[in-house]
Each structure stands twice: as C-alpha cells, then as structure tokens.
Amino acid sequence: MFLLKQKSTLPGFNLALGYTVFYLSLIVLIPLSMLFLKTSTMGWGAFFEVITSPRTLAAYRLSFGASFVAGLVNVVFGFLIAWVLARYRFPGKKIVDALVDFPLALPTAVAGIALTSIYSQNGWLGKYLYAVGIETAYSPLGITLALVFIGLPFVVRTIEPVLQELDGELEDAAVSLGANRWQIFTKVIFPTLIPPLITGFALAFARCIGEYGSVIFIAGNMPGKTEIAPLLIMTKLEQYDYAGATAIAVVMLLVSFAMLGVINYLQWVSSKRIGMN
C-alpha cells in the first residue's frame, strides 16, 4: 500500500515504515477497530436511532458548538499572544512563553476542579461575574471557558514558529513602497498566517470535541442543555449499552478523522508555499 515514489539512496525505509505500521496497528488501529466491531452489532436502524436522538444531537451540538467558539476565541487571543511573544520584548517574556504550554501538562481533572473553584458562584471570579448576572460555571459558557484553557497552546504553538520565520525582507520592501503598518499587516503579514491559523484552530477544535476530564466538573451535566457528548457515552455505558456508547464514539471519531485530514492537507499546502518562497 505504501510504495516509494522514487528510489532513494537512504537506507532503512522498509525497517522504519514496517515498524511504524506495526506499532500503529498494535496500539491504535486494532484497538480502535473494536469500536466499529462493537457498533456493528447493533444494525443500521438502531445506530441511526442512537445518533439522531434529540439528546444525542443536543450533546453533539454542545460539544461541537462550544469547541467551535473556544477555537475562535483561541484563534484571536492565541494569535495575539503568539504575536507578542514572537515580535516584542518585555520583562518576564521567557516565563510567559513557558506558561503557554501549561494546559498541555496539567492533568485535565485538576484543571476542571481548579476552573470550577474559580468560576462557581462563590469562586474567586465567579462571585463578581455572578453579581453582574453572568452565570459561568455550570453553563455552556463555563464549558467554553474550560475548552479555551485546553485548546490555547495548540493555537499559539502553531502560529508562533511561522511568525518567527516570517521573511523580514517582504516587510522592508513594503515599507519602501510606502505602505503603512496596517496595510503591511493586512496585506503582507496576515495572508501568510492564514494556514497556520486554520491549522491551530482545527487542532484545538479536534482536541476539545472529545475533552472530558476538565469539562465534567464545570458542565452541570443537564440533559439537552449542558450535557457534552463524552458524558453521553459514559451515560450509555452506565446502562450497559456498549453498542450505543460506541455508536456515539464512532461519529465523534469520524469527525476527528475528517478534521485531522483537513489539518494535514492544510499543513501540506502551507509547506508547499514555504518551499516556493
């Protein structure tokens, strides 16, 4: 299936690819195939009934919707942070740069508990937000906040390197042609950043769809309102309905796969572009 396009002088292709496929199958593909196997025991009719029931649809809507909004927030602020980190100098910049990856490294359950403590009615921030009538914890807003936390590093870390590698000569040329800062930003800098922005968004989005640990504490878990799709999987499991659980999971998996396909395509496009430059 994986044939070399042209003969290479480098050795080890068969070994490296063989091992890659072997390990990939062992750890990822064979276990994941269990999902499809289990789902196939229920038949198409039951499958569609599960994945199109109002409650499932509401959960998908919430999971995808909150992930989408969180992704957008992260694109805006992630871009800002990456910009500041890549182009400006200020005291404590190294520390700030390191902190960006904190959400990747913090256990999700801890993140969930900490965020709930902060945003609930008697929390550090929650009490002020509550006082002005904004309900954060236990609402879709709270879920989105948790997902913003989870997704942030993905966006920052995809944009930052591109910003750093940005060719200064283009900007110089633009300046010498009399362009002002805003024109340079919108016409010269921003277009190059569109692919990494989309990539970052997609990565954060894909990660957020399935997020469980940090969201479950802050979600409120009300059916149809604040119930996320991974929780619905848990609910199905609780009723020993394994096939129903895997049916919901399969849909999420396919969306993730499609999402990643798009990401890799975009990365391929953007790398082609850099290559041309």
Binding site: M1, F2, L3, L4, K5, S8, T9, L10, P11, G12, L17, T20, V21, Y23, L24, I27, V28, I30, P31, L32, M34, F77, L80, I81, V84, R87, K94, A98, L99, D101, F102, A105, L106, P107, T108, V110, A111, I113, S117, I118, L125, V148, L152, Q164, E165, D172, R181, I209, G210, Y212, G213, A229, I233, M234, A245, A249, S256, F257, L260, N264
Partner: protein, 284 residues
C-alpha cells in the same frame, strides 16, 4: 533587530502586550495559583504529610513506571515514523500521517474504552487471558497501554518537521563516504535532531504523567495498586480532602512547570537548529 525598525508604535505594542498578558493571567496564571494556594492553605506540614503517605507514594510510583515505559516506546516509534515520513516520498504518506495524529483527537473516554472492549472479560481475548492468569485490564498493563495511546503522536509530531527541514544531503554524503546505515543515523541524523527529540520527549512525558480520562476508564481504582497520581487526586477530592487533593495536584503542576522550563531551554537551542536548517534549505 530589523523587527524593531518595522515595529508598531510604542503604545500599540504595550496595549497588545497588556491584552495578551491579561488573557494569560485569566486563563493560565489564575488556575495555577489556585492549585498552589489551596494546596498550601493548611500549612507546609499538612502539605508534606499529604504527599508522604503510602497511597500517594504508590500512586507516584505507578505514574513514574507508566511514563518510564510509555515515553521510550513512543520515542522509538517517533524516530522510526519520522525517518520514514520525512526522508522518503511514498504513496499514502498523508493518510499515514493522519492516522498517526488520530489519538490526539480521540476522546479520552474512548481511548480507555477501546482497551476495555479488547482485553476485558467480555472481549475477544477475555477468557483466554483469565485462564492464563494474565491481567491486562484494571492492572498496570492497561494503564500503560492507554497512556501510550494518548501520547502516541507526541514525539513523531515534533520530529517530522525537523527531519524534513534537515533534508537528506548530509546523510547521503555520509553514505557515499562509506558509512553504514546505522552509523549514518547515529553520527549524522541524531545529532541534528537531538533538540527536537528532547522537546518531543518532554511534552510526551508531561502528558503521560498527567493523563486522567483514559487511565480512569481502565484503572479499576484499587487503592495503593492501580491508582496513578491524577486518579489519586480525584479520590482525595471525593473524600472531601481538598487540601491533600490540591497538594498532590501541585506536585503535578510543579512537574508541569519544571517540564516547561526544561522545554523552553531546549526550545531555545532547537529553534536555532531549525532556523539553521531552514536557511540551509532555502539558500543551499
């Protein structure tokens, strides 16, 4: 330096910096300090007591063992995969890359569930495993497997772009001079990618030690036996032992911080490497 000549007016710069810092403060710094303040709010003695007890120590041990197995395995895989993907051109490459990335976006609940379906008593191997007294699910092997799954692409993701950027010229030169395949890899490729490799390992390790969802599904929650540190934290929290829970959590947060500083150290050198490589590619 050229950047500064082309930079925005001072007030724009500082407004942007201020906005970025405010956002980070709200989303990163606040939760971080929350963890430490709650963990320490009954004093340093309680803090150390809650970390230095048999259950916590056994959780720490299991967490370390898990990372110690999972990270090297994913490292070996990462090197093999990136060698194949970065150095060769073959059909189906993009598809393979997508498959490698897949675990990153699978819900942790599902990452655990697939191993339950596979090795659980109701799964295809269930009876056989039970008859032979082999424990996989609800025992350390499943915890390790689930951890390998969630951290699967982390090293490969870091290595592929670095290796791609390095190109094949140096390796080809070494081979022409009569070096063997493995010699070429050890002497030429590895030194070129070592910082990228380390960066990947550090991220992979942080995620391996902190994974909660997937591990929770396959652990069985047996006290002192199959609890990792994140699971131990959940238990403490459920026992209304909030101080101890956050004390243990602060251990992981500390680990995260140490990791991050190690990482930015590595990154500093790795960027130089990447930059040099890019320059080589563009002008060479």
């Amino acid at each position: 330096m050229a950047v500064h000549l082309r930079s925005e007016p001072v007030w724009v710069r500082w407004t942007l910096i201020g906005m970025a810092l405010a956002f980070l403060g709200l989303f990163i710094f606040l939760p971080l300090s929350m963890v430490f303040i709650t963990g320490l709010n009954k004093g340093i003695a309680v803090y150390f007591k809650s970390i230095n007890n048999p259950d916590a120590l056994s959780a720490i041990r299991l967490t370390l063992i898990t990372a110690l197995v999972a990270v090297p395995l994913n490292l070996i895989f990462g090197v093999a995969a990136s060698w194949a993907i970065a150095k060769f051109d073959f059909y189906g490459k993009s598809f393979l890359t997508t498959l490698i990335d897949l675990p990153l976006s699978v819900s942790p609940v599902i990452s655990g569930l697939i191993y339950v379906l596979m090795f659980g008593a109701q799964g295809p191997f269930g009876t056989w495993l039970r008859d032979h007294g082999i424990k996989i699910i609800f025992a350390p092997p499943a915890i390790i497997l689930a951890t390998i799954f969630v951290t699967f692409p982390m090293v490969a993701r870091e290595l592929i772009p670095v290796m791609k950027a390095q190109g094949n010229d140096e390796e080809e030169a070494a081979l022409t001079l009569g070096a063997s395949g493995f010699q070429t890899f050890w002497r030429v490729t590895l030194p070129n990618i070592k910082w990228g490799l380390l960066y990947g390992v550090i991220l992979c390790n942080a995620r391996a030690m902190g994974e909660f969802g997937a591990v929770s599904v396959v652990s069985g929650h047996i006290r002192g036996q199959t609890n990792t540190l994140p699971l131990h934290i959940e238990i403490l929290y459920n026992e209304y032992n909030f101080t101890a829970a956050f004390a243990a959590a602060s251990l992981l947060a500390m680990l995260a911080l140490v990791t991050l500083f190690a990482k930015s150290l590595v990154e500093y050198r790795y960027r130089a490497e990447l930059k040099a490589a890019l320059r080589l590619e563009n002008h060479g």
